[in-house]
């Protein structure tokens, strides 16, 4: 079995929106048979937190060229485009 991947969830304060998104993504991926480790941080802290993560999911703009795949989406807050965003996350984790 492949090693469980780590997803870093980022938002402005690292407390509210990333909490909602992390739980929503973790649950939805579980339904798709994928388990992940989740971590959260502020958008400004991503660069220092990124070494051991496989994917970053953010609700706010991040610096470019972080060296890891980044998916920026509000889908897990607004409900709009959720399936699409999940497909992208799943694809990024299967690479």
């Amino acid at each position: 079995m492949a090693k469980q991947k780590t997803v870093l969830f980022a938002c402005g304060t690292g407390i509210a929106t990333s909490t909602v998104v992390a739980h929503a993504v973790e649950e939805a991926l579980k339904d798709r048979g994928i388990r992940i480790n989740t971590r959260q941080c502020k958008a400004t802290e991503v660069a220092g937190q990124i070494d051991d993560v496989d994917l970053v999911v953010s609700t706010t703009q991040l610096p470019k060229d972080l060296g890891k795949p980044v998916i920026t989406t509000l889908a897990f807050l607004t409900g709009i485009g959720k399936a699409d965003a999940l497909d992208k996350i799943e694809a990024a984790l299967r690479d």
């Binding site: 509210a16 959260q40 703009q61 607004t78 709009i80």
Partner: protein, 153 residues
């Protein structure tokens, strides 16, 4: 049932039909309520305003009614609380995902958070509320705090 949300939303911090001309004005009205009710420190309002300017919280819902969820760091918070405003006329907030885009916002939740692990349920219920166009439309039409509590219950 949005129980955690109802437990956190103080009826004294529900303000309906707010007439405001800027996102900052809306935030200050709700932050003052939260401060008066003992949820946040005097530093909270400035901190939320500053954060909103740097990292906005407007959420586009795909229609005319958008929502914003201003908040800030836990050290400005005394105990978790939630304030809600409906706006008489939409006020422009910047889009969380793209700060250059302005969104006309009709409902604002100002959140005082200090422990994300304890408040996750409340946060999920806010997200659930935001994802229901029917509830958002009904909130905008609400005439009293009781209406609001009834809609969220």
């Amino acid at each position: 049932m949005a129980e955690a949300l109802l437990n956190t939303l103080d009826p004294g911090a529900i303000v309906l039909g707010v007439k405001a001309s800027s996102d900052e004005e809306v935030i200050r009205i709700l932050a003052a309520r939260l401060e008066g009710l003992g949820y946040v420190k005097p530093s909270y309002a400035d901190a939320v305003v500053a954060r909103e300017a740097a990292l906005p919280t407007g959420l586009p819902l795909g229609g005319a009614n958008n929502v914003a969820v201003p908040h800030t760091d836990p050290h400005h918070v005394i105990k978790p609380g939630l304030a809600l405003a409906t706006l008489a006329e939409p006020v422009l907030f910047s889009n969380m995902e793209d700060p250059d885009e302005k969104l006309p916002v009709s409902v604002v939740f100002v959140m005082a958070l200090n422990d994300k692990d304890k408040q996750v349920e409340m946060l999920q219920e806010i997200a659930g509320t935001i994802q229901s166009p029917e509830i958002i439309a009904a909130l905008i039409a609400a005439k009293s705090a009781e209406d609001v509590l009834g809609l969220l219950g």
